[in-house]
Symmetry: C2
Subunit: 402 residues, 2 copies
């Protein structure tokens, strides 16, 4: 039935948009323009966002597309000095075309990875207005600028699960299939996914019913890994996916996947090479240690709590059905594909952040996966993303000179 | 030159001794017997250690040898109910013989993994007396009970690096080749290995000069991994090696291996399956992010600090020369052997803790490694441990019925 598989294009499930200056000011009444997120210029010509009485300069590391690694810098960068693909949907598509990126899911920048900005705002009613505007802009402007080229990712009001459900329903009706959530809500001052009061249950139920993928970007706990107070920065930076491993284990043992069989999570920019070890370890811990934990023995203040029926929990089956990861240049992860499962890994390009492989995205991925069967390559390049996000991409563009 | 390799025996570089009741009371003057660590009985016949005004009951999970997993319990256990191999060196050798364990390196129990007990004691002068007694007992009684069957591990006074150097010299002269150190001294209230005042430099210099392996057991920071406050206990338990990965990265980027070329560290009970991901990630972070870090840019309060010359740091070469891990049942780690290096992995049996594979130690390891060349198997079973700890084991015993 299928013609030859096209392996020249990938779908990136983790990129980043630097919101263009008009997102909010175009959509609020004139009276609210000064209190909505808007850009101002300092006397040196550097632009920065202003919202809720605070200034938010950009980080140069969030807009490195087109720069060499020697030029990377965390210093603030004016929009005028950025590659337009950072903030312009049509320009981004040109950059995607150049790099073999058929479609892209973008996380927000000013609102932070799961919309912490609006949760932390002093006026949450207006925060909700601004959050909805982000979602509308993402759906109606960014994604609509190039149909079939962008997978929308929306935000929820983290501070009110009932309002979050309404926003999920509203966005699902407009075509969204995924929302951003925190890898660990507790450091944000929010209940965990294990909260005994069931704080997040309405959101999880809605995600289940609406088939909205829970996308959790590394760092969406607003936590920076720190091995010790004066550990060399490079060690902490390397350690980043430690957070994602904790997220995976939290969800695996949470019982959420047993209660909500349609619930699926995407671990974004967390890589995958650490998964096989932790999956195997989870099986061993479950096998050997569950008896005394189940008897409710207290041990090191943990109280033997657990959110799932340990006797029936199947770590591998739960993982394969519900948990998805993605990779940029994770050779070890791909070498471990059989242990992780070829249906659970997607690729990403992290444009325009400092881990990005742009403009060599498709070449980089193909170099890592070219030894695999073509069907497997196709899954990693795009098939898994299409299935998970229920997304039908545009036909690959025919490029001039191609 | 070599005859056929004997693959029927392993050297375990991570086991545990429950100190017998006589360790300290036999070695202090009569007047100090009540204040030295000693055992008392409660009115139910349960024994517990007493030291420095505190009671220390045992944990059943630290003495499961001979029990089925269904029987594991963290409840205190009397010595009389433990398998004698837990605390008796001659009985332990019988258990080792039964399980194919040629030699064993044991971590302490009452003093904790790196001697925290004496560091925390109200009277450190007497704490040092007790610490030296532990070392003498380990060398003169435990190890001497079966020459060539035990690799001694000694403790240092963590609170005084100069005294620690003296104790290292004293123990090295008595044949010790390794000492216990903390995977992360900061949570213990001690300076980190990166401390700019050079707190640990005398200890590291002595370890280098005396070729004393720095053995760091998982949990020797006295930290229990906790993803969030109410994360299911099984998730936290599975996450344990997260600490070891932080330790490995701290040391890799510390500059210590560049300053002390003979320094070698052993990561004990941390498994190895997570290593390939973090080694690859370290190389990528070093490749892409070092330029802006070197320019001293401040980013997220870390200040771009680093303890090593990033331009000359070779992650793989540094790892292979200086860092050693061990495994119990880590199939993924062994599947990744080529990425980690067959000279850097040893095996362990964790006797008599709840991860132990006893009495099936040799069978378990052989099942995991039997597909490898015999020379490689030999390295993993014992060759690497012999080389790292400069240890010559006894000839394998000829067992009745074998």
């Amino acid at each position: 039935m299928t013609s030859e598989l096209n392996l020249d294009w990938l779908i990136s499930v983790d990129d980043h948009v630097l919101e263009p200056p008009n997102v909010w000011v175009d959509r609020v009444p004139a009276k609210d323009r000064d209190r909505a997120p808007h850009m101002e210029l300092d006397d040196k010509g550097m632009d920065f966002w202003v919202y809720d009485g605070k200034k938010f300069p950009s980080s140069g590391l969030s807009a490195v597309a087109g720069k060499s690694k020697e030029e990377f810098s965390p210093e603030p960068l004016a929009y005028s000095e950025m590659r337009p693909g950072c903030y312009d949907a049509a320009e981004r598509v040109k950059d995607m075309d150049r790099a073999g990126v058929l479609a892209s899911l973008c996380f927000p920048t000013l609102p932070r990875f799961c919309g912490q900005l609006f949760y932390e705002a002093s006026d949450r009613d207006f925060g909700l207005v601004c959050l909805k505007i982000y979602n509308d802009w993402m759906l109606d402007e960014w994604c609509a600028a190039a149909p079939g080229r962008y997978i929308p990712l929306v935000l929820i009001p983290l501070w009110d699960p009932q309002l979050a459900v309404k926003e999920l329903e509203r966005c699902a009706a407009k075509g969204a299939t995924s929302f951003a959530f925190s890898e660990n809500p507790e450091p944000l001052g929010l209940p965990t996914i294990h909260d005994p009061s069931g704080y997040w249950e309405p959101v999880m139920a809605a995600a289940n019913d609406l088939e909205m993928v829970v996308s959790m970007h590394v760092g969406s706990s607003s936590q920076v890994p720190k091995i010790a107070s004066n550990t060399p920065f490079m060690a902490n930076l390397t350690w980043g996916a430690m957070r994602t491993s904790g997220t995976m284990l939290s969800w695996l043992f949470s019982g959420l996947f047993q209660r909500y069989p349609n619930l699926k999570i995407a671990l974004s920019e967390g890589e995958v090479g650490w998964m096989p070890y932790y999956l195997e370890r989870a099986e061993q811990v479950l096998d050997k240690q569950r008896y005394w934990v189940q008897r409710g023995a207290t041990f090191m203040d943990h109280g033997g709590s657990t959110g799932v029926d340990l006797d029936t929990l199947d770590i591998r089956a739960t993982f394969r059905e519900h948990i998805f990861g993605c990779f940029i240049e994770d050779h070890h992860g791909i070498a471990s594909l059989a242990e992780i499962g070829e249906d659970n890994i997607m690729c990403e390009t992290d444009y325009p952040h400092s881990d990005s492989t742009w403009p060599n995205c498709i070449q980089t991925v193909r170099n890592i996966i070219s030894h695999l069967p073509e069907q497997t390559q196709y899954k990693l390049l795009r098939g898994n993303a299409e299935r998970l996000y229920r997304f039908t991409p545009a036909a690959p563009p025919v490029l001039a000179g191609a």
